[in-house]
């Protein structure tokens, strides 16, 4: 009997039978995330786990990790799996911990405004739970209806509301972690969770993409529900105006709750699907919340500011609709049958330049791309282009994946960086950090997890199912080759025509 089979049997005898499965269908459906990976990828990656486990408590996670260690079995934690970099996808099979089973909201500490949750709680559910108690969680991923708290924390957590309330990193007060050794730790002490002395362990684990340990409990800062919550929408004739407007907002003394943009192509895609959508160059959604007087002051100020630079205030009905659609930004996937999203952070003053170079890239690669994004702080824009593809044409679909790398190269060139490494973009770490820092990050990973069993072969390096490391040169060569292949194809088309024809680049 091979070692993995013995390891699996050991786990199956240790975990409650209802919460462990080696059924093929269960292993198959947990072998992916948002990224559409072709079956041929299985040549290099063993994405199907050997066994799927639903833990309920930290102690159980700890036991699973210890058993897996004893048999040298890789362990992959999986949350909502709604990211697209393979962070929640096994690369060497092993045990997959489906953390969505740890979905209890443990309690709200009203005195400290802190809620304690298990990692599998979905963001929207937490917000609904808090709302009923007079609180809200103002920062969350746009994928809040499906994303788990543990998953987003592990990605670093920039999203809705970050402009005013900061990212996950700014709001996580403590994490309970099962280390690769099986030991259970807490990253902070109740009293100094916001202002840690010694090493800031909480920050170390936030954004580590599950590579340093498995999050089993999270303390989050929450806030009393605001008196007023008011979304506005401004339309602009072109995207240059939108980027200029964001610069103005970031320079202003007032700070709205959330500032997000989408380009005109986004609406063209929607029109091609038969949905009603405005014919604009781009729109900017500015959301306000807080006491009534404060919201009125901010609204008056930003209304004047937007109008002065060519923005047209759309109706409250449109603004409400746009706000409701914040979690549905990839509706147009249906148009192409596939959509792949890239994500980079760039400085506000470089947003226009990055956008224009991205358009050139889009033209070169003959693709259909829409750009959206949001301000995450006064200096930084999260830039999220997504392209439509047809997964049924798998060679073309794979070659299209190179767009994400090429787009990140554009962002890097102008001082930006990609968001997310996971499995597929692990080699991009060299674009994000200098070599010495990468060495330090690897040292931290190897110190905590010498055998690389917890989400190993990802984030700080890319390893295949056979343990072979693929370095940045090979990665770059592969991506360039794919981009070359993509350019050989005729322009991407949809099943249904887009009004105005090929939208790439018309910003």
């Amino acid at each position: 009997m091979v070692q993995s089979e013995i390891a699996k049997r050991s786990l199956m005898s240790a975990v409650t039978p209802e919460r462990i499965s080696d059924e093929k269908i269960e292993r198959l459906v947990t072998s992916h995330d948002l990224a559409p990976m072709p079956k041929v990828a299985a040549l290099a990656l063993k994405m199907m786990p050997d066994v799927v486990i639903h833990p309920k408590e930290a102690e159980e996670v700890s036991e699973v990790v210890r058993i897996a260690n004893g048999w040298n079995m890789p362990v992959t934690p999986r949350g909502g799996a709604s990211w697209g970099f393979g962070g929640a996808v096994p690369n060497k099979g092993g045990a997959l911990l489906d953390m969505t089973s740890m979905d209890r909201i443990i309690g709200l500490d009203v005195e400290r405004g802190i809620v304690r949750v298990q990692p599998g709680v979905v963001w929207l559910r937490l917000d609904e739970w808090l709302n009923r108690r007079g609180y809200f969680v103002p920062y969350y991923p746009s994928s809040a209806p499906g994303a788990t708290i543990g998953g987003w924390i592990s990605t670093g957590g920039v999203g809705v509301g970050g402009y005013k309330y900061g990212a996950a990193r700014d709001n996580v007060r403590n994490l309970q972690i099962v280390l690769p050794s099986g030991q259970i730790i807490n990253t902070a002490h109740n009293l100094d969770s916001k202002h840690p002395s010694q090493f800031d362990l909480t920050s170390l684990f936030v954004g580590s993409e599950g590579s340093l340990g498995i999050v089993t409990s999270i303390d989050l800062q929450v806030y009393p529900k605001p008196d007023v919550f008011f979304p506005t929408t401004y339309s602009f004739p072109n995207m240059d105006h939108v980027y200029a407007a964001m610069s103005k907002i970031s320079e202003s003394r007032l700070r709205p709750y959330h500032v997000a943009f989408v380009d005109g192509n986004y609406f063209r895609f929607l029109r091609a699907m038969g949905r009603e959508a405005p014919e604009v160059g781009g729109i900017l959604n500015i959301i306000f919340e807080g006491p009534k007087e404060k919201v009125e002051e901010e609204l008056k100020f930003f209304d004047q500011l937007m109008t002065s630079i060519g923005g047209k205030r759309e109706s409250d009905e449109i603004a409400q609709h746009e706000w409701k659609e914040r979690s549905y930004e990839l509706r147009s996937k249906k148009l192409g049958t596939g959509a792949v999203i890239g994500e980079a952070l760039v400085s506000v003053d470089k947003a226009g330049i990055v956008a224009n170079e991205t358009i050139k890239l889009v033209r070169k690669m003959k693709m259909n791309v829409s750009v959206m994004g949001y301000l995450i702080d006064r200096n930084t824009v999260a830039f999220l282009p997504f392209y439509l593809t047809d997964e049924r044409r798998w060679i073309k679909a794979i070659s299209s994946l190179s767009f994400v790398k090429k787009f990140l190269d554009v962002a890097n060139k102008h001082g930006g960086r990609g968001v997310g490494l996971g499995l597929f973009m692990a080699n991009n770490i060299y674009k994000m950090r200098d070599r010495n820092t990468v060495e330090l990050l690897r040292y931290i990973k190897e110190s905590i997890d010498p055998e690389g069993r917890i989400n190993g072969g990802k984030t700080v390096m890319f390893q295949t199912r056979y343990g072979i490391r693929v370095g940045p040169r090979l990665f770059r060569f592969g991506m360039n080759a794919l981009a070359f292949i993509k350019r050989l194809y005729p322009r991407d088309k949809y099943d249904r025509p887009v009004p105005g024809g090929f939208p790439g680049g018309e910003h």
């Binding site: 919460r19 499965s21 093929k24 992916h32 079956k39 799996a81 609904e128 009923r132 509706r331 996937k333």
Partner: protein
């Protein structure tokens, strides 16, 4: 190679998991293969026959394990409501069940029995067809020249006759001339359509019922069963074409009678109640306000909403043949819904579907809850 219905939809699925978070079966079992996203992903792997399958000479096709997952669904339609890319998921599940059966897979034992009974005696309860109108003891209330036809449905006809009797009382109080189909009424076909056994409905039940209704020459028919209403409203037109009559759910008709002041309530009903939206009446047929407006018109009643209501109402667990095949789990889902009613301080759950009523009461019993579920007509017959 297999041909999968709605194959394009499989590729359109974003795998965002919004459906996962609202699926009542997933909330019960926690397994990814039980939720809509997982089912679509598994199917896409079958549709997407790639080079690896060729190299390994694999001919991917769904197995019994996939079939069971398809049937682990209450057809509540919550996944439809939140789908990122607007896939008509509730419809897709039914198509897929039908497709599986067309490939030679057997339906689940409980569902097969339902089909056999319906084929034999035109109801899923194996009751004699000539006893279908036995629930109506006083046939003199029937009008030879009716304004409306009351489509009683199998459950009111054979299992909860008191619901039919309550409807009769209310119609009489509003001086509405009505009639019934009696033994000419056959099962509407809902349990068969939801379990993929569509041929009997297409070839026999829908044409028969439509013909019987239309030969009566009435302008309107009413039904008090959410399943019958959804089937006649949404499925029959696809099978037999546009109807010549107007279809009302009882609550819609009562709302109209109240507005016209034909139905007047003379007594109070002093209770704090909540309304449970049956999935087939609410999400599937978009009837949300009528039952609420009828409840609000009752003197003395206090209506409170559960946290999840209308489009986002949680399922009771009984639909789609789930209760008949997975009763324990169905009642567990119902118990969670009862707890939601407890949380908002409701003394009573009012609903408008006999299946929801039965299952919610079973769920309440299992957890020792004092919150009972009754049909809206049972309240109304007390206040007229």
């Amino acid at each position: 190679m297999i041909r999968i219905p709605e194959e394009r939809e499989l590729y359109a699925c974003l795998q965002c998991g919004y459906c996962r978070a609202v699926c009542p079966i997933y909330a019960e079992t926690g397994w990814e293969s039980n939720n809509p996203r997982g089912k679509l992903f598994a199917l896409k792997q079958l549709a997407n026959r790639g080079p690896m399958d060729v190299v390994l000479r694999r001919d991917p096709k769904p197995g019994d394990d996939y079939k069971v997952r398809l049937y682990q669904c209450t057809s509540c339609g919550a996944c439809d409501e939140v789908c990122h890319v607007n896939i008509k998921l509730a419809h897709l599940w039914e198509e897929l069940k039908e497709w599986m059966l067309s490939m030679g897979y057997e339906p689940l034992e409980a569902h097969r029995k339902i089909r056999e009974r319906v084929e034999k005696v035109r109801n899923p309860y194996d009751e004699p067809i000539d006893k279908r109108d036995a629930w109506l003891t006083d046939k003199s209330v029937l009008s030879p020249d009716p304004e409306v036809l009351f489509f009683a449905g199998c459950t009111a006809s054979y299992r909860v006759g008191f619901l039919g009797q309550a409807v009769v009382k209310i119609l009489k109080a509003a001086d509405v001339k009505f009639n019934i189909l009696g033994s000419d009424e056959w099962c509407c076909g809902s349990p068969l359509l939801r379990t993929g056994q569509t041929d009997v409905v297409r070839n026999e039940l829908a044409p028969h019922n439509s013909r019987e209704i239309e030969t009566r020459g009435v302008n309107a028919i009413i039904t008090a069963c959410a399943g019958c209403y959804n089937t006649i409203k949404n499925d029959y037109p696809k099978i037999v074409g546009k109807p010549t009559y107007n279809l009302y759910h009882l609550t819609e008709y009562l709302e109209k009678l109240i507005k016209e002041k034909r139905l007047v309530f003379t007594k109070e009903f002093k209770k704090k109640v909540t309304y449970h939206d049956p999935c087939h009446l609410g999400r599937h047929a978009r009837v949300f306000e009528a039952p609420r407006n009828v409840i609000k018109a009752i003197p003395g009643i206090e209506l409170v909403e559960m946290d999840y209501n209308k489009e986002m109402a949680h399922c009771c667990g009984a639909g789609g043949g789930y209760k008949s095949a997975f009763n324990y789990s169905a009642e567990s889902i119902a118990a969670k819904r009862v707890k939601e009613a407890e949380e908002v301080g409701a003394e009573l759950i009012i609903t408008s579907c006999p299946f929801c009523q039965v299952n919610l009461n079973a769920g309440a019993k299992n957890i020792g809850s004092k919150v009972k579920t009754i049909d809206i007509v049972q309240v109304l017959e007390q206040v007229i």
